[in-house]
Every structure is written in C-alpha cells, then in structure tokens.
C-alpha cells in the first residue's frame, strides 16, 4: 500500500516534471500551425503553413542563420583545439600547478556570459587601439570577437568532455608509435587523434550547439554580424509572431531527429554486440520478425515514425491550402464584429431612449444616470481591433463577449497589429 502510493507519487512527479520541461516546447511548436497572428493554441483558428513561408522569406532570420553558422564553425574549431590542448596539458602539468591551472580553465563556465562578453569587447578594443588599428580592423570585427568570446567558455566544456576520454588513454601507445619511428606529429595524428575521435565529435557538437544558442556573450560582441539568436531576441522583445514558433518547431524537430538517430545507432551497436555474444538471439522462434535494425530498437521505430510524419507533413503542406478556412474565420470575425457594433448601437439606442425617457420624466436631474455596467461595451468601442474587423481572439462567435474579455483586448498587442 505504502510502496504503491510511493510509486504513484513518483510517476505523478515525473509527469509534472516532464510537463514543465517539454510542455512549453510542444505548445510553442503547435502555435506554428495556427493561423492566428499571435502565437497561441487555445482559440484554434485554422491549420496553416503560412508561418513557415513567412519564416523562409525573412531576410534577417536567414542572414542570422548564415552568421550563426560561420561563427559556430569558427567556435567549434577554436574551442575544440583549445579544449584538447587544455586537456593534454592537464594530464601532464607539474602537480603543484595543477589545481591552479584547473581552476583557471574551469572558471569561464562559472563566469556570467555577460561578463565574458564585456571583457572580450574591452580587451580586444584596447589591443586594437594599442596596435593603432582602425574601427574596421579584424580585431574589432563582430565575427572575430564573437568567436573569441564564445570560445573562452565553450573551450572549458570541450576540455571536460575531452579530458574524460584522455584519462583512459594509455600514453604507452604514443611512445610505441615514437619508438617505431613516428614523429610526434605523426603519433598524434595516427594514434591519439583516432582514439580521441568520439570525444572530439561530442565536443564539436556540444560546442556548435552552445555557440548557436549563445546570447549573453554574443550580445556584446556581434557588431555587424547578428547571429540567429540575436535576431530572435530582437524579434521576441519587440513583438512575437508565429513565424518564430515555426523556426522553433524546425529546431525542435531537427533536435529530436538527431537525438533519435544517435540513440538508434547506439542501440544498434549494442544489439550487434549482444548478438555477437549470443548467436542464438536470431532464432527467437516464429514470432513476427522485424528487420534486425528494428528488433528491440525502440528509437529506430520512433525514427521511422518520425520520418513518415515529416513526409506526411511536408506533403500536406504542399497541397493543403488554408485559404478557405482563413476566409471563414475572417468572415466569422467580421460578422461578429458587425454584430457587436449592432449590439452596441442597440445598447446606445436603448440608453439614449432610456435617458430621453428619464430626461423626459425628470427633466435635467438625470446626472446620476446608471452607467453601462457591461465593460465589454466600452472595451469594444475602444478596441482598435474591433474597428479593424480583425484579430479579435474570441472564437465562440455565437456567444456574446462576456466579462472582461472585451476589455482585455484593448491591451492585446496583436489587436494593434491587425489581421494578416
């Protein structure tokens, strides 16, 4: 009883945890397909792919991606090289210096990115001035500064990844290569580097991702080369559109794809190893036999499902046209707006009549006439959205707007942006 209660609470906890972790991503991804011009899912209007189209026509985003790729490549090269050198140094440095050295190379992980960005900017600006170079020199170039600034701490991550594998390296292998006539460079290239390759690949991926998503450091150093993250931040700060959701969806999808691919590959290697150990695995009897790649490989199955889903989606996007639906929604909104205006008019009419009646009855003593208690009346009048006949959020066209909903629209930023 007690243990089953504990188990249930663990699962509930896990569910809440992962909902917190993944929920935002799922919701954000979904908003990419809603035709509402504000990223949201709750008033679902129409399934649309227009945000993707819009995304691919956004020159600033495309330029940001280009800059991010250039800077990412530079950062990967520099930080993997420095991380590897740092790791090699750590394994052979004089013991008395080791603690100090380790503290220095691990510190950038803990230094706030903002500080790294500022110190990079200030330091290279000073070097630039000391060398008497102008404002357009390489040292004040945004790409250079960003690569340098990001590599400062990304190299520490790389170093941690690389040193973990380097500790398993037998230095006798390098000595054996030297002994057989190899130069130090040959021994490095032919023996150490192949051994380190998996870790170098991990470090490179890590470095690229860290560079790609970095904002705090880059925001001080990017100069005339805004990265994708910088462009996104600008957009998000000054008004959000579902085109960003579309980009997010693509990134999420790519991430999931590569994660599954990697997992499927690992799983496959494990299965192959297991099969070698136990040749009997093949003969499991007359059950339904999946191709060997899939057998017991959940990730591979998911990968295929994922691929099919992608193809379906792209296929649908090619033929699907939400125009009709969007037109319907627009029509509905227009009708609703009209109806509201009508209602409003009617209300005013009634009020006027009432007032007239009161005035008629009580003469000019009607100063304290009851004000309209329904806020939506006022809100509707002042909501520019309502006048534009556009982006009101209420989906239930049949129901009259109630409560504060109408009032809230006044502050709804997208009611200003109008309809797409």
């Amino acid at each position: 009883m007690n243990s089953s209660f504990l188990r249930i609470s663990i699962w509930v906890y896990l569910a809440i945890f992962f909902a917190y972790l993944l929920g935002p991503l799922v919701i954000m991804s979904l908003t990419a397909f809603n035709s509402s011009s504000f990223p949201r899912i709750s008033p679902w209007e129409c399934l649309t792919f227009q945000w993707f189209t819009e995304l691919f026509h956004d020159q600033r985003i495309l330029n940001g991606i280009k800059n991010s790729l250039i800077i990412g490549a530079g950062t990967v090269v520099l930080s993997v090289a420095m991380g590897l050198a740092g790791a090699l140094m750590l394994t052979q440095i004089w013991p008395k210096l080791r603690a100090t050295y380790y503290t220095i190379i691990i510190a950038p992980i803990l230094i706030p990115g903002v500080v790294l960005g500022i110190s990079t900017l200030v330091f290279w600006d000073r070097i630039n001035r000391m060398l008497g170079l102008g404002a357009d020199s390489v040292l004040s170039n945004g790409v250079f500064l960003t690569v340098i600034g990001q590599s400062t701490f990304i190299a520490s991550y790389c170093m941690l990844v690389l040193v973990a594998r380097l500790q398993r390296y037998d230095t006798a292998l390098t000595e054996a290569a030297l002994d057989l006539g190899a130069t130090h460079a040959q021994a490095f290239r032919k023996i150490l580097l192949p051994f380190m390759r998996p870790a170098i690949a991990s470090a490179a991926v890590l470095a690229f991702l860290a560079s790609f998503e970095n904002y705090n450091t880059t925001t001080f150093t990017f100069g005339e080369y805004p990265t994708l993250t910088i462009e996104l931040a600008q957009k998000v700060r000054y008004g959000i559109t579902p085109a960003i959701s579309a980009l997010a969806f693509i990134i999420v999808a790519l991430t999931v794809f590569f994660a599954l691919l990697n997992e499927a590959k690992l799983r496959r290697q494990e299965l192959v190893a297991a099969a070698r150990r136990n040749a009997m695995v093949q003969d499991l009897g007359g059950k339904i036999r999946l191709p060997s790649f899939f057998a017991g490989n959940m990730a591979a199955v998911l990968l295929v499902v994922f691929a099919v889903a992608t193809i379906t989606m792209v296929g649908t996007a090619a033929v699907y046209s939400p125009d009709q639906c969007i037109a319907n929604v627009k029509e509905q909104k227009r009708l609703e707006a009209e109806r509201r205006i009508q209602e409003l008019r009617k209300q005013r009419e009634e009020q006027r009549k009432q007032r007239e009646a009161q005035e008629a009855e009580q003469g000019g003593a009607a100063q304290s006439a009851p004000k309209p208690s329904n806020n939506s009346g006022f809100g509707g009048v002042f909501a520019p959205g309502a006048l534009g006949g556009g982006a009101d959020a209420e989906p239930e066209a049949e129901e009259p707007p109630k409560g504060n909903g109408g009032f809230g629209n006044v502050f709804d930023p997208n009611s200003l942006s109008g309809d797409q």
């Binding site: 504990l6 663990i10 906890y13 945890f17 992962f18 917190y20 972790l21 993944l22 935002p24 991503l25 919701i27 954000m28 990223p39 949201r40 899912i41 709750s42 090289a81 420095m82 050198a85 090699l88 140094m89 603690a99 220095i104 190379i105 691990i106 803990l110 230094i111 706030p112 990115g113 903002v114 500080v115 110190s119 990079t120 900017l121 200030v122 330091f123 000073r126 001035r129 590599s151 190299a155 520490s156 130090h184 460079a185 790609f212 998503e213 970095n214 904002y215 705090n216 993250t229 996104l232 931040a233 998000v236 700060r237 959701s245 997010a248 959940m298 409560g403 504060n404 809230g408 502050f411």
Partner: protein, 306 residues
C-alpha cells in the same frame, strides 16, 4: 620549472609541444586572464571619447563604483536606490531560483541515478532535448504560456477559476519559471553523476536498519551527493545571476535584472567603463557569495565541474 618544460617538450616533441603550449597560453592568458584584468582596469577609468583615451584625463578613478552606491553626483537621493535595489533583487532572486531548482531536480536526479532500465535513456534524451533548443526560444515558449492571453490564463479563466487573467509577467513568475527552466539540466547532471556512483547497498542497509525514507536521504544520500549538489547549485546560481535573455524576454517592464543595467550602460548609455564596473561588481559579488556558501557547507573547489 625549466625541467618541467624540458620534460614537456621531450614528451610532446618541439612542434606539438609548442602548439599545445601556445593554445593553452592563448586560452588561459589571452582569453581568460587578460580580458578580465583589462575589464577590471577599465572599470576604474572615466568614460572618455576615443581621442582622449590615454590622454591626461585618463586617470584612475572610483567614480564608476561610487555611481552604483551614491547615484549621479548632485542627484536628489543619497543613495542610488534604483540600481542597488535591482542588484540585491537579482542576487536574492538568483538564490531563490537555485533553491527552487534544487528542490525540483534532486528527486529526478536521484530517480535517474538509482534506476536501471532502458527508459532511463529515454528520460535522459527528454532532459537534453530542451537544452539543445535555443535559449531565446525557450524563453519565448514560456512567454506563450504565461502571456496575458497565453495557455495558462486561457485555461484558468476558461475554467472559471480566475475572473481576470493573471499577469504572470508583471509579477515575475514567468521570469522565475524561465530561469529555473533554463538551468534544469545544469542542476540535474552533476547530482545525477554523483548519485549514480552511490552504492545501492548503502541505501538498502539503511532501509534494513529501519530508517524512514527522508532519513535515508538526509543521512546517506545527500551527504554523499554533496559535491554534485554544490556543483549544480554553483552553476545555476552563477548563470541565473548572470542571465540576460530570460529577464529581457520574460521580465516585467518595471523590474530589471542587474545584467540588464549592464547591458543598458553598454548599448544605450554608451558608458563602457560604467558597464565594466557593474560587471566587475556582479562577478566579484557572485564569486564571494559562492565561496562563502562553499565554506559554509564545507565543499572544495575541486569538486566543482566534475
């Protein structure tokens, strides 16, 4: 020392040795030490237009630090209450985020570290995926959820629980959720790494002796996981105190994060020395705070980053 260098070159060869040494020196001195010193130096200088830099007016001054404490000269107030309040609020909030993250992540790290099975790998992937998504997009996702017409408000208002949409952004709830969200992984992995190496038998033994579950954690697991916990807390604290993207996107219009002040000094006021001074204050305070905490909880520096 020279004998160490001689051995180093013997072992790596002259070319490789020079390459390694060059890269390490470039990194440690050129990218880590000198820029920090340069920023420190810069923070003690007045804000001068480029032609005057190095000129007679370019003297060391405490002005930039004074500004943080006393505000502009001849200002109406005795102290720079606005900036100081932002500064302390940032630190307190960062501590809160760290504690929140620890409470949230410790159980899952423990669960992952002590369970076996293939679903653990799936969990691990699910943990890592959000971390691979852009920091800005993570904040953006939370803004969709916490926005005035966002998912939560629609849900609660729709269910009739609340009458009016709750302004998560103005109340900084979105900000704390976003900061917590951003650094979950940095909290989980160090703790997970340590707990994974904890011998299950220790827990079994404690359970055999009749210890209740909270006592097992308090007396066995947490002391063992201390290096991981301190490592995770340090990283989360430093990074959330130094966060910029989440406060910019999720912060309310009236509540600033200290990094935003630094950002303003650089980008809006164009007062680099002032910004550098603020950055130095942030860095030094955070480091001192972390060191104090490490001393309080008796943790070694060497445990961090493992």
């Amino acid at each position: 020392m020279p004998s160490f260098l001689k051995e180093f070159f013997n072992r790596n060869g002259t070319g490789m040795g020079l390459t390694i040494l060059g890269l390490v020196l470039f990194w440690t001195i050129g990218l880590i030490i000198l820029p920090q010193l340069s920023m420190l130096d810069f923070s003690f200088r007045p804000n001068l237009p480029p032609p005057e830099i190095g000129g007679p007016k370019d003297v060391y001054t405490l002005e930039n630090y004074k500004y943080l404490i006393y505000g502009p000269e001849g200002g109406s107030q005795d102290y720079n209450t606005v900036d100081l309040r932002v500064f302390f609020r940032t630190l307190v909030a960062a501590v809160c985020v760290t504690i929140f993250n620890l409470i949230l992540c410790y159980p899952i790290a423990y669960y992952l570290g002590q369970s076996k099975g293939s679903h653990i790998r799936i969990f691990a992937i699910m943990l890592i995926i959000p971390y691979w998504i852009n920091e800005i997009l993570r904040a953006f996702a939370l803004r969709i959820i916490f926005g005035e017409t966002g998912v939560l408000n629609t849900l609660f208002v729709g269910l009739g629980i609340w009458d009016t949409p709750f302004d998560f952004i103005r109340n900084d709830i979105a900000l704390y959720a976003g900061l917590g969200y951003a650094y979950i992984l940095l909290m989980i992995f160090p703790i997970y790494n340590v707990i994974e190496s904890l011998d299950r038998n220790q827990i079994e033994a404690a359970r055999d002796l009749g210890a209740p579950w909270w006592r097992i954690h308090w007396r066995v697991v947490i002391p063992y996981a201390k290096p991981g916990i301190s490592s995770g807390c340090t990283m989360v604290f430093m990074l959330s105190a130094g966060a910029l993207a989440a406060p910019q996107i999720l912060g309310g219009p009236s509540s600033l994060w200290f990094t935003q002040l630094i950002y303003q000094q650089f980008n809006d006021n164009n007062d680099w020395p002032q910004g550098a001074a603020y950055a130095v204050v942030l860095l030094v305070t955070c480091i001192l705070f972390v060191l104090a905490m490490m001393r309080l909880f008796k943790v070694n520096m060497g445990d961090i980053g493992k």
